[in-house]
Amino acid sequence: MAKNNLFFELGFEELPVEANRLLREKVQELLKSFPEKFRESDFTANLYSTPRRAAVFLEGIKLESEIISEEVKGPAENIIFADSKLTKAGEGFIKSKQISEDALVRRDGFVYYTKKSGGERVEKVFQDLFLKCIASISFDKTMKWEKTGFLFPRPIRWITGFVNNSPMDFIIGPVKTDTYTYGNRSLSSSKIPVFNGYDYFEKMNENYVEIDFEKRKSMILFEIEKSAKSLSLALIEDEELLNEVSDLVEYPVIFCGKFDERFLNLPKEIIIAALKQHQRYFSLKRGDESLSPNFIFVSNAPYAEAEDIVNNNQRIITSRLEDAEFYYKNDLSHDMAYYENVLKKTVFHEQLGTFYEKAQRNKKLAASVLKGLKEKEGDLELLTLISKFDIATEMIKDGKEFTKLQGVIGTHYAEAMGYDAETADISREHYLPLTNEGELPKSITGTAFSIADKTDNICGAYVSGNKPTGSKDAMSVRRDSLSLIYLLTKKKMNIDMEPLIEEALQNYSKTELKQEIADYIKKRMEVLFASYKIPYDAVRCALYGETIVPFTIYTKAKLLGELKSNDDFKDIVGGLKRVANILRNEKEKSVETYYDNQYEKNLYDAGFDVKKKISEFLKAEDYESVLKNLLSIRKPIDEFFDNVMVMDKEASVKERRVQLLFFIRGIFLQFGDFSKIVFESELNPEDVK
């Protein structure tokens, strides 16, 4: 006997790719958390998705949840009854519980009643969950399309559902369930009757709809690789494009086209971008990594005539590439001086001046960075111009599809204008890394300009009132901050961001924003380093102090993170927390060196000794040795606390001990604030952010 099953399909006009991804994610969550009470032991639930539909099929379900009766204790008898009659409260009680007076049992001075639960129908529960599910999705954009004003990213046009062979009765917005679906759009627009879930799968098969997203994706990849191989070429992999294309077709059919070889004179990034952004074509490469004029596209047309469809697509890409060529030739007809002039007239941001001014600010910061690193500056003026001039080219300014190539285009153009490859590369390099995982700049000038560009972007956002909030980050401060920290850490650079931020703010005469920006950057460090499995408290410990050197903070925090299970460390941290508490209301003065108590003396000597030892290690940035030495103070600290009362009755004794603790704490603070370390046993919820 077939298992009990529930089938449901939501049919809509072509959903945007991102909206469809979100929908899948949320419906998948619904299936995963489908209530246990409706599951048989062999329960399975699957999700299917195309640009025009989302469908679920649940097998091995219970049609109704089990009915459970249990006796529940109610209020005291004398509240519910008076002289064997219901009191006012009693009447209220049976009303609220929806039971009759007869259902009440009196026993031991209380009333009891039987509560029944369960017996819900799976269909109803599914519908409630599904409605809640789609209402909970925060789509980027939704629309109205009819008079009820229901919101969805595109119009919902049909819904179909069955429990076994019985049609579901369900309304979503303006649409009521019926018993039909539609097939692949290119074959027919007529309704296709459906009788149940199993029937649906057959109908989809017959009507050229592959309803499984992952299957479409692997079909596409398989066919592309096969075609590429037959041309002795290889696919230029692009997961993003593959995902997108899989969400643009219901039945993928692959074709190969070719553009005119003369376009290969254009930089390959331009061609790849034109193919991808405009037409969603896959680019192919030859064995030597050079771009091939052959390309592959995925159609939704199972009965297309290859010659026709390929010719039509080739015609389109020709006109696209001609447009790119038009920009390319036009742009190269100007020289750098021309672009410098255009930059002077091109607004970077209304409150932050022109791109020329932005580039000049970058130049100043880059010069400081290079100076700090004791590196040669080179022709800073030229590098500054080359880094930004492509903003003023038609390719970037006007061509929407090529905007993503900013930097890359600049480098190509600068090389074509005759600048040497390293100088030309500043345009591309100074944007790197694009994310906190991306490619890093290689040259030292590229690195300096990248640090400068990002620092100025971050500070400029605060200056212009665009600081990031939980929901808004118009100027991508978050991305720039993470990329900057990543760059400085990954390159192991000894660069302090504090004076850099200050200098960037001086360019705007807004130094008062320094602390706020520094705090934001520090928070980003916690976030970024946490993604490297470094606990946030270790980062907070290492963040102590005026300077913000991401690489140092990373190094220290990593060492601290590894120490968290070490007993000496736990003990020391415990001791230092105690110290921090004691010192909370005290003031630091000079340290006495005379101690009449052996434990005080031992502690002072150990501290003195360690302080001397670590000063060299600190200079050499050998933080592992610093830590090792710091841990050696465990014993004298323990013994001090075991045997000495800091808060002595006699003021001078107390003061002496307090100052000794200041001395000891000061030694640790050279590394970080150990009182920020939290052990699991003492975690309380607010600490976890």
Binding site: E13, E14, P16, V17, P51, K141, M143, K144, W145, E146, K147, G149, P153, R154, P155, R157, R185, S186, L187, S189, L248, V249, Q279, F297, S299, N300, A301, Y303, A304, E305, D308, I309, N311, N312, N313, R315, I316, I317, T318, S319, E322, D323, F326, K345, T346, V347, E350
Partner: protein
């Protein structure tokens, strides 16, 4: 099928679907949406089905007739239906079949593209429709027009007539399209296209056009005071065209650009608001 037959055919199709067949507007517009048969008609919630050819002027897009696909002037076929019929995608697909395009043999796709006109304060959600990779239609469910959110949602379908002709006639460039059986597009249009490109990019009188813009802007405000909505809207259209000309002449800096767009949007909003207030007053 030649170009004029395509126009006749597609008009016939939508006429059979109960659309009024109207004519292009008598002022320079960037798109059929500017025609008052769309802009003003969709503001009230009344039923309104209309279709018409529109001469679309986009000065900046000219390439002196040298790019196969980019021109400073082209022909749109605009369909506006309010409220949007439930089977509108099907109606659209059938319109292609009516033009003799065998849907089965081609790749038709609805690719996300949310249309927006910042000057008209109009936006909507929809797609560009691809026919074998070529964008032939913009398909939009308006959500807002004249900066006013709509309650009855219209659908706008804008066909690129030259592109459809290129497809049907298998031509590689617009200029080679057969307009009739004797004349090609280039025989009729190319000379003017080149001259207009020269005018748009190099010769248009910036000073004059700036004055025209300013005067037209004032005129919108004056006419609204006299409760003359349609004439006022005419001057909004003019402002938009003057702005496009200034833009293609490179006479507007980036910063001014945003400002010009905002000025036109304010005008179109004022017209829409005035029209709605008058309508509501009548009820």
């Amino acid at each position: 099928m030649n170009f004029q037959e395509i126009i006749l055919k597609i008009s016939e199709y939508w006429s059979l679907k109960d659309c009024l067949i109207l004519q292009p507007y008598n002022s320079e517009v960037g798109a059929g949406t500017f025609n008052p048969s769309t802009f003003i008609r969709v503001l009230d919630n009344a039923k309104w089905n209309a279709a018409y050819v529109e001469v679309s002027k986009r000065p900046k897009d000219g390439r002196y007739g040298e790019n196969p696909n980019r021109f400073q002037q082209f022909y749109q076929f605009q369909v506006i239906m309010q409220p949007a019929p439930e089977n509108i995608q099907e109606l659209y697909m059938k319109s292609l079949e009516y033009l003799g395009i065998e849907i089965r043999k081609h790749d038709i796709r609805f690719v996300e593209d949310d249309w927006e006109s910042p000057t008209l304060g109009a936006k909507g959600l929809g797609w560009e429709v691809w026919l074998d990779g070529m964008e032939i239609t913009q398909f939009t469910y308006f959500q807002q027009v004249g900066s006013i959110p709509l309650t009855v949602i219209p659908v706008e379908i804008t066909y690129g007539l030259e592109r459809i002709a290129m497809f049907i006639q298998k031509k590689n460039s617009v200029i080679d399209i057969d307009w009739s059986n004797e004349k090609k597009w280039k025989d009729i249009m190319l000379e003017a296209e080149k001259e207009f490109c020269y005018f748009n990019f190099k010769s248009a009188n910036v000073e004059l056009i700036m004055t025209q813009f300013e005067k037209s802007e004032e005129e919108v405000k004056r006419l609204l005071k006299e409760d003359l909505v349609y004439p006022a809207y005419d001057y909004v259209i003019k402002c938009s065209h003057f702005f496009n000309l200034l833009d293609s002449r490179g006479a507007i800096s980036q910063k001014e650009r945003a400002n010009y767009i905002m000025r036109i949007r304010n005008l179109s909003r004022a017209v829409a608001k005035h029209y709605m207030e008058r309508k509501n007053g009548e009820e």
